[in-house]
């Protein structure tokens, strides 16, 4: 029977051409939609790797400090930090580089080890970072007082960094060249999704701020104790603005910044999804309409099939099966295009994302086709053979 249906479709391929092209495009659109959805979902599924709740980012942009004396700068900013930490509402404070979580700033460089080369994010943070963002320490320790006066710069790396440069090795205690100097790895943390929930992980390293960093640092992350609200934010602002007289001070909440950052990813995705949804709706209406129309055109054939032994259910099965055969022809072509993405590694995504998306798109199109064919099929099953044969 399948072969019979295939012949029937094949001989009518000219009539069905448009429909097959439509199904092919729907498949490709759904493949794109599902690829993006699977990719983002997989990223979303991964743990954040840090705690951004109740953390504020305090930025201070003031006059050029590069010419100032390093020691007096250090004394001054350490005093500022102590003052802020002193407030009972504050749990911890850390000076950080501007590429702190959920910002647009980036700072990276290429690192090479044993023929492996990759772009690595560089973050600067002081010893109290652990208390503020609470990264998940997997191996070793965060840098601290113990590293004062060490010959090599202490750094902490993330899990992606470890798997990239130290596969099967324990990186703790190892040295690696960062920029123009060697650094010693003292700990490994879980990857932090500091660019947003839907962003992929990547290798990163954390460098300890030094006394000379204060000439360019312009941000602090402050962990607030739960319950401290707008009232405290106002006081903090006034206090800091009072100390840093010429500086522009800005306080942002990390949870709000996270929402903004996520929306930058989500909104285009939703817009694309809605457009794709309309396209698919169009295609399904077209498919439904064509099937409906063909049934009325094929009444005689249906009557004939009933006369030679088809049951009503058999006719309805035939309508659905024919549409599935039609879809399969289109999908084979679609599949050929879709598998090029993982095979040629077009967008540097994991292969599994593409294959999952292909599977979902196939299931979606088949389900769509069955849904669109079901009612016309039922209608066809209900045609009385005598009536169908009567009309020519």
């Amino acid at each position: 029977m399948l072969k019979h249906l295939f012949k029937l479709i094949w001989n009518k391929k000219k009539q069905h051409f448009l429909l097959m092209v439509e199904i092919l495009f729907s498949f490709l659109i759904m493949f794109a939609v599902f690829t993006l959805a699977v990719y983002n979902y997989k990223n979303y599924q991964r743990p954040m790797g840090f705690d951004h709740e109740n953390v504020w980012a305090l930025s201070y942009y003031d006059k050029d400090r590069s010419g100032a004396d390093k020691d007096s700068l250090a004394l001054f900013y350490e005093m500022v930090k102590r003052t802020i930490s002193h407030a009972p509402e504050v749990a911890a404070v850390s000076f950080v580089s501007n590429n702190s979580p959920f910002t647009m700033s980036m700072n990276n460089s290429v690192i090479t080890r044993n023929n492996k080369t990759a772009q690595v994010d560089h973050f600067s943070a002081d010893d109290d970072y652990v208390g503020v963002l609470k990264p998940v320490l997997l191996k070793g320790r965060w840098y601290g007082r113990a590293d004062d006066g060490a010959a090599l710069e202490p750094i902490v790396v993330n899990r992606s960094f470890e798997t990239m440069f130290f596969p099967g090795e324990d990186p703790v205690g190892k040295t690696i060249k960062v920029g123009d100097h060697d650094a010693r790895i003292v700990g490994v943390v879980q990857d932090m999704k500091d660019k947003g929930d839907y962003k992929p992980l990547g290798p990163g390293l954390y460098q300890r701020t030094t006394r000379s960093s204060y000439s360019w640092l312009s941000r602090m992350l402050i962990r607030i104790k739960p319950g401290a609200g707008a009232n405290f934010e106002g006081r903090l602002y006034k206090q800091v603005a009072g100390i840093l007289q010429d500086a522009t001070v800005e306080i942002e909440h990390l949870d709000e910044k996270r929402v903004v950052k996520n929306n930058i990813t989500l909104i285009p995705l939703i817009v694309f999804g809605v457009i794709a949804g309309f396209l698919i709706l169009n295609v399904s209406l077209g498919l439904f309409g064509v099937l409906w129309y063909t049934i009325s055109k094929r009444k005689a054939e249906i009557g004939l099939r009933r006369a030679v032994g088809a049951t009503g259910a058999g006719i309805s099965r035939q309508v659905v099966s024919e549409t599935l055969v039609l879809a399969t022809i289109s999908l084979v072509v679609g599949l050929f295009f879709a598998v090029q993405f993982p095979l040629l590694n077009v967008f540097f995504m994991e292969e599994s994302v593409y294959y999952t998306a292909i599977l979902l798109a196939l299931l979606f199109i088949y389900a769509l086709v069955v849904v669109c064919a079901f009612y016309p099929g039922r209608q066809a099953a209900g045609i009385y053979p005598a009536v169908a044969l009567h009309e020519d």
């Binding site: 029937l8 006369a307 030679v308 032994g309 259910a313 053979p385």
Partner: protein, 221 residues
């Protein structure tokens, strides 16, 4: 073979009620070749559809090959039509998108059979109607007479006990008509197939065993 008792068929549309058949009682014996004549609209096709289990009578009893279709399910009816009955229609009713061979194989698709068996049986049936050299043609590439012969091949491919033919020669010239008639006569004599045929042609009707005339849904002879 076929027993119709007090058959009545009423067609109801939104506005009118048509009494297409009025109290028809008819017996067709096994191996008989019966022809039905009557003016257009008198209910010939309706009667044939009832005999072929394509339509149910409004009243009356139908018995065909020892079974009472009124008590059969849709599936059993389909099976019965497939096994016992072969239809030939005035307008051929070939599937234009299938080659001649596939058209003839059609009834076999609805029973247990292998592709090889189907091909063998269909080829043999086409041989019987003299169309062995048109197997790969599409219906649109055939003449009317050839189309009707394909339809006959399709009707006989499943070796049914009964053939119901609705004006099988109606669209053909007399030479072609005679050719088709010869095939049916041969089938009736050689295979013992029971045939009921609607025709407008007295000449053709005279070649059959018995003639039934209908007028306005009633049997007049």
């Amino acid at each position: 073979m076929i027993r119709l008792q007090n058959i009545e068929k009423v067609y109801r549309t939104d506005t009118v009620e048509t009494l297409a058949l009025n109290s028809i009682s008819l017996n067709v014996a096994k191996g008989e070749f019966l022809s039905i004549m009557g003016p257009s609209g008198c209910g010939k096709s309706t009667l044939l559809n009832i005999m072929g289990l394509l339509d149910a009578p409004t009243r009356g009893e139908v018995r065909i090959a020892d079974s009472t279709p009124g008590y059969l399910s849709d599936k059993q009816l389909a099976h019965f039509r497939n096994k016992k009955i072969g239809f030939i229609f005035q307008s051929y009713h070939l599937i234009n998108d299938l080659q001649v061979l596939d058209n003839v194989e059609l009834p076999l698709l609805y029973r247990k059979s292998t592709a090889r068996e189907r091909k063998a049986l269909a080829t043999a049936a086409l041989g019987k109607v003299g169309l062995s050299n048109r197997i790969k043609h599409f219906p649109s590439q055939l003449s009317g007479g050839q189309k009707q012969r394909v339809a006959i091949a399709r009707a006989i491919v499943g070796q049914p006990e009964i053939i119901l033919a609705d004006e099988p020669t109606g669209n053909l010239d007399s030479a072609m008509g005679n050719e088709v008639m010869d095939i049916l006569l041969h089938l009736n004599r050689q295979e013992g197939t029971t045939i009921v045929m609607v025709t407008h042609d007295e000449q053709i009707a005279r070649k059959t065993h018995r003639l039934v005339r209908l007028f306005d849904g009633a049997q007049v002879q």
